[in-house]
């Protein structure tokens, strides 16, 4: 059964997520799943569940706590158009972009437009606390989303991407989760002939050496996106969390609790998922102190 509790610890939320994903994987396509309870969701705990439910064409009946919240965030199908979207909360609904058979130019255009619209919504509608945006700066959100979206375009070969953002005014934090169903970090590196043995090895080499599926030449710098994203999120000012999951491995870097390397036993996430949690800084954040 699906169970999403209100765990404070991100490690517990990750464990719960993997448990839910294992349950979904064991379910036959087209069948009906059971949801035990949904006490409190975050983009990390709900977005990958939505993507698997859609992929396997699963159905569910749930009228318990937060059932109406699932409806308003458009769980699980998501929306594929942001134009004319009327927002009345501190979230942007689950966005689901279908990328199958798009040529490179069209994919690039779609991602650029998604980025632009998403930033606009985040700034104008979702994060109603103007001081949050002023201190973190819209530039920071733009930079972080840009890094992830460019990686999707360059490396993922994805057919679907999902994006969900939630802001919590009470604790002045915002979480964004973006995932794709592409080849994943291991698949991308192997396809490019890189020397990687498994998901954990791929993730480690990306984090420690900036290994990329793309070749550097001339002035082209590759393999730096994750490095800069981590630096922008996990410093003492933003005090945030960076989480990346691909294949059978994941990495969590929390400004508060440090780094964790996570190995999944008998579970494989196809594609790549990134979660960013940003907290309101005490003073105006200068992104370029951490991106040099």
């Amino acid at each position: 059964m699906i169970l999403i509790c209100s765990h404070f610890s991100i490690i517990e939320r990750i464990k719960e997520l993997i448990g839910n994903l294992r349950y979904l994987e064991s379910t036959d396509s087209g069948s009906t799943i059971e949801i035990q309870a949904i006490e409190f969701t975050t983009p990390l705990t709900i977005t990958p569940v939505a993507s698997v439910i859609n992929k396997k064409e699963l159905t569910y009946n749930y009228n318990g706590e937060n059932a109406s919240y699932l409806q308003i965030i458009r769980f699980p199908e998501g929306i594929d158009k942001l134009d004319g979207l009327s927002l009345q909360g501190t979230y942007i609904p689950i966005i689901h972009l279908h990328l199958k058979n798009l040529d490179r130019n069209t994919l690039s255009t779609q991602l650029n437009m998604l980025h632009s619209k998403f930033l606009e919504l985040l700034r104008l509608k979702v994060i109603a606390d103007e001081s949050f945006i002023e201190l973190i700066t819209n530039n920071t959100f733009g930079f972080l989303l840009g890094e992830i979206m460019d990686n999707i375009e360059e490396h993922s070969d994805a057919e679907n991407i999902y994006l969900f953002a939630q802001y919590w005014p009470k604790n002045n934090s915002c979480e964004v989760c973006i995932l794709d169903d592409g080849v994943g970090l291991l698949g991308s590196l192997k396809k490019a002939g890189r020397d990687v043995s498994d998901s954990a090895d791929a993730l480690k080499k990306i984090l420690e050496k900036g290994l990329s599926s793309k070749t550097e030449y001339g002035d082209i710098m590759r393999g730096m996106g994750i490095k800069y994203t981590r630096a922008a999120i996990t410093n003492k000012e933003i005090n945030g969390e960076f989480f990346i999951m691909s294949g059978s491995a994941a990495f969590l870097h929390s400004a508060k609790s440090g780094e964790n390397f996570i190995n999944f036993k008998e579970y494989f996430w196809p594609g790549t998922l990134v979660m960013l949690r940003l907290n309101k800084p005490l003073a105006t954040f200068n992104l370029y102190n951490y991106v040099k």
Binding site: S116, L119, G142, G146, E154, D219, I220, M224, Y228, Y288
Partner: protein, 99 residues
């Protein structure tokens, strides 16, 4: 040329290069007045094709970058000159969790 005021992807820069390389003019001005955002990757790709355009006897001038984009372009320009000195941190001290 672009329908969005975000220039995020490297492909967007490549599309721009293709467009410019087919222009008859040799001096081209890129006006970023309508661009709210450009990514590090976009700028990196843009800088890389400045030298390719030189081979085509073309030159680009970038104008009207906003206060957020101007420093990012400089960072990307300076970083590309120091590729070999960019460092990464080890994750060997990360606590391993098996789920």
């Amino acid at each position: 040329m672009f329908s969005s005021n975000s220039l995020v992807t490297r492909q967007a820069a490549r599309d721009l290069f293709d467009f410019i390389s087919h222009l008859p003019e040799s001096d081209i001005t890129l006006d970023f007045a309508q661009s709210n955002f450009a990514s590090r990757s976009f700028f990196n790709e843009l800088i890389s094709f400045e030298s390719k355009l030189k081979l085509l006897s073309k030159k680009i001038t970038i104008i009207n970058l906003n206060e957020n984009l101007s420093p990012l372009l400089e960072i990307v320009r300076n970083s590309s000159k120091m590729l070999s000195s960019i460092s990464y941190t080890s994750v060997s001290n990360a606590i391993v969790i098996n789920i």
